[in-house]
């Protein structure tokens, strides 16, 4: 960003990388995938680099309003310095905070989540999704992030992106407005869960796996219904081709990937971010 400023230019959009995008080894791959897409279509973008700092989302959700506002003010000052107007980010938490909570502190921007951004690129024909990996026939299920879906009513954009992949999109029982949290929101990412029967991400992963396996019996078990006792429980029918849990959030990514690992299904179920799927369908390997 400072390079642009030095040249007296202004980028089209600011790509807000977010802490996870910058530090989490797995999510760095998503950051790179998204950057490759941006460069591929020739969007003039910039990143803040070391001038970026936490939006304050986890502090705010945990009740530390003071810390949140300190962070927010700092970021708003940075944005003002570069006259930022449009921000794109791959993190629904950053997206929600900058879009909805910064205005009360004087920061008004056009904020876009990368799922919407990708959908726009596809709609405009700037991303064609050919030349790379083909997803035809592979099963994909999308896990709605709370801060994208219920918090901001974005349900269609990620699905439009996945449909463009020409994959076999299957919906979990709890999806869209009824989606189930991955368990990491509200600052849960940074603490041990409270004692209970199981962790939220396991519950959600079980649901995702049952959906991908097309296993009604397993689904019914998750819904808490009594399954018929006739005969032995049929072994879950697993796909030969590996299927995908698609996410649009770094926390969901961590939670679902941990869940898949916990269920020992890494061999045939992978967790990918929307940007990674688009990048590899375009032949832009991150």
């Amino acid at each position: 960003m400072s390079d642009f400023a030095a040249r007296g230019e202004e980028p089209e959009v600011l790509f807000w990388v977010g802490c996870a995008g910058a530090f989490d080894d797995r999510y760095k791959r998503v950051t790179r995938a998204f950057v490759r897409i941006l460069e591929h279509v020739g969007v003039k973008y910039a990143v803040l680099g070391m001038e970026e700092t936490c939006t304050g989302d986890p502090a705010k959700r945990a009740g530390n309003e003071f810390l949140f506002q300190m962070q927010a003010m700092q970021n708003i000052t940075t944005f003002e310095g570069y006259n930022v107007k449009k921000i794109v980010t791959a993190c629904p938490h950053c997206f929600n905070t900058i879009k909805n909570e910064y205005p009360a502190l004087g920061g008004n921007y056009e904020v876009i989540h990368h799922s919407t951004f990708l959908q726009q690129l596809i709609d405009e024909g700037r991303v064609k999704l050919e030349g790379g990996e083909a997803y035809k026939g592979r099963r994909i299920t999308f896990h709605d992030s709370c801060y994208l879906g219920r918090a901001n009513n974005i349900y269609e954009a990620p699905r439009a992106v996945l449909e463009a992949l020409d994959a076999d999109l299957v919906e979990m029982k709890r999806s869209k407005a009824n989606g189930l949290c991955c368990g990491a929101g509200g600052a849960q990412m940074w603490k041990e869960p409270e004692p209970g029967k199981k962790d939220v991400n396991i519950e959600r992963t079980e649901e995702a796996l049952a959906t991908l396996d097309g296993n009604a019996e397993a689904l019914a078990r998750i819904q808490g219904k009594e399954s018929g006792n006739e005969g032995a429980t049929p072994a879950p029918k697993q796909n030969d081709q590996s299927s995908i849990i698609a996410v649009g959030c770094p926390f969901c990514m961590t939670m679902m990937a941990d869940g898949v690992k916990n269920k020992e299904r890494e061999s045939n179920v992978q967790v990918f971010d929307l940007a990674e799927l688009v990048a590899s369908a375009e032949g832009l390997n991150a």
């Binding site: 990388v17 970026e52 009740g63 309003e65 506002q69 709370c146 918090a151 949290c181 509200g186």
Partner: protein, 458 residues
């Protein structure tokens, strides 16, 4: 005016007067909450009220209870017209005063009868859903103590009794007119089938008709006065509650303005903290951050507590609750109401607390009455920290209650006033403070992701 009219007048006045008195108490309770400006957006709010409250929009996510509820709800609306007639008849010694409307009256009475029969069926189904050995999951839970359970069933019994009284009145009236060969305005598809059950004696029939009539109207007045003690108050409060619901995106949490001033003053010494509008005489009380007790919550959060139907839809979708944690958003809302009534000692007609101390609620941490508050006395920090702020409870609530707001306010109190966050969260806070990220990474590593990538502009 006969003596009967005068007695009736007194009964009606007492009924409505008592109700008004109770409502005033509740109003006072709610107004102990913090100010929150909810004016404006009238059009949008009315539309919401029409859809969600009148239109039952959010009920239709689950079809069986939605249909059952719709029957009782429509029955309630239609019966109100009948109540107008009963009140006029009772005051002026008339009989079925609306009878002159002919076709309309036929339609009214017939609809009423059919709906009443359906209501009895619906009530039976509701009862079954709650009382069979394995009730619907959301009707269980730690907060569903003796009183909430009894309350739910009482409502069903009263509703059924009111319908039975209505049929007694109609059937006796119909038969009386048949015996006397007189004409009775209205159409009675159900009572017409029941006449055989009653004796032919005119006097007995008259007595039965009067009995049904009095039981019906007195029952309605009693029910009306029972509402403020009950979860059934939602039939009234759902409307203002939906009207005053949040219009912001669900992900947007409230801003704490007092902190904004402090932060601005810290960053810019010349910043002038705007003086609050000169409050007459009273020293501006030092405000606490977040909520410790009910009066620290916004009045809308208190309104929520009186609108809650205790249906448990919020809890049944809560990821924390689903996976066995202590948190139940319904409990947070019910605790708020219990605490309000304890603190402000709202004298209700049917005081549920009289039903036994453990009937409503057991304080989580046994403190003396003076010192226990909503937080800690009712709601434990463990419950609060289990929330993922996922908004599922907010989405699920059929009357637009927002348990998450109260949860966040209490978390704010724990963090800002007591520094009582779980240790790992304190680590996260200091990471943000020192490194600008919730993890312990150095800000200078922020660009490392680009190492494996050729980026033109850095």
């Amino acid at each position: 005016m006969t003596i009967q009219n005068i007695i009736f007048l007194l009964v009606v006045l007492a009924g409505f007067g008592l109700f008004a008195w109770q409502v005033r108490k509740i109003r006072a309770n709610i107004s102990h909450g913090r100010d929150r400006d909810m004016s404006g957006d009238v059009g949008e709010r009315l539309k919401k009220t029409l859809l969600v409250a009148f239109g039952q929009q959010k009920m239709f996510k689950r079809i069986t209870p939605a249909l059952l509820h719709l029957i009782v709800y429509v029955g309630f609306l239609v019966i109100n017209i009948e109540v107008i007639e009963i009140v006029i008849d009772g005051l002026f010694n008339t009989h079925r005063i609306l009878g002159f409307t002919g076709g309309f009256y036929n339609a009214l009475t017939a609809t009423n009868e059919i709906l009443s029969a359906l209501v009895i069926i619906a009530v039976a189904a509701f009862w079954w859903r709650r009382n069979r050995t394995e009730p619907v999951r959301r009707f269980r839970g730690t907060e569903m103590r003796a009183w909430p359970k009894l309350d739910a069933n009482l409502i069903l019994y009263i509703e059924a009794a009111l319908m039975v009284a209505l049929f007694l009145m109609n059937t006796a009236d119909l038969k009386l007119h048949q015996v006397e060969n007189a004409y009775l305005p209205g159409a009675y598809p159900i009572s017409g089938l029941l006449t055989g059950l009653l004796p032919d004696n005119a006097t007995t029939l008259l007595v039965l008709e009067r009995l049904g009539w009095w039981v019906h109207i007195v029952g309605i007045l009693l029910f009306l006065n029972y509402l403020p003690s009950s979860k059934h108050f939602h039939i009234i409060m759902a409307f203002p509650n939906v009207y005053f619901s949040r219009l912001m995106p669900q992900g947007q949490f409230s801003n704490v303005d007092s902190i904004t001033h402090e932060v601005k003053a810290m960053m810019d010494p010349t910043y002038q903290v705007p003086t609050p509008p000169a409050s007459e005489g009273a020293e501006a009380a030092p405000t606490t951050f977040g909520a410790k007790d009910v009066n620290d919550l916004a009045w809308t959060n208190l309104l929520h507590a009186y609108s809650c139907t205790e249906c448990g839809r919020c809890t049944s979708v809560c990821p924390a609750n689903l996976t066995g944690k202590l948190l139940s958003p319904r409990k947070i809302i019910m605790d708020t109401r219990d605490r309000m009534e304890e603190k402000y000692n709202s004298p209700l007609i049917f005081d549920p607390a009289l039903y036994g101390p453990a009937a409503k609620h057991e304080p989580q941490e046994q403190l003396d009455k003076e010192n226990h508050t909503l937080l800690r006395g009712y709601v434990t920090p463990e419950e609060l920290w289990a929330c993922t702020t996922c908004n599922a409870c907010v989405e699920a609530c059929p009357v637009n209650i927002n348990p998450l707001e109260s949860i966040i306010e209490m978390r704010r109190f724990l963090v800002l006033e007591e520094s009582a966050a779980p240790n790992s969260l304190n680590v996260m806070f200091s990471n943000i403070e020192n490194n600008g990220a919730p993890w312990a990474f150095s800000p200078s590593d922020r660009f490392n992701w680009a190492d494996e990538l050729y980026v033109a502009e850095k």
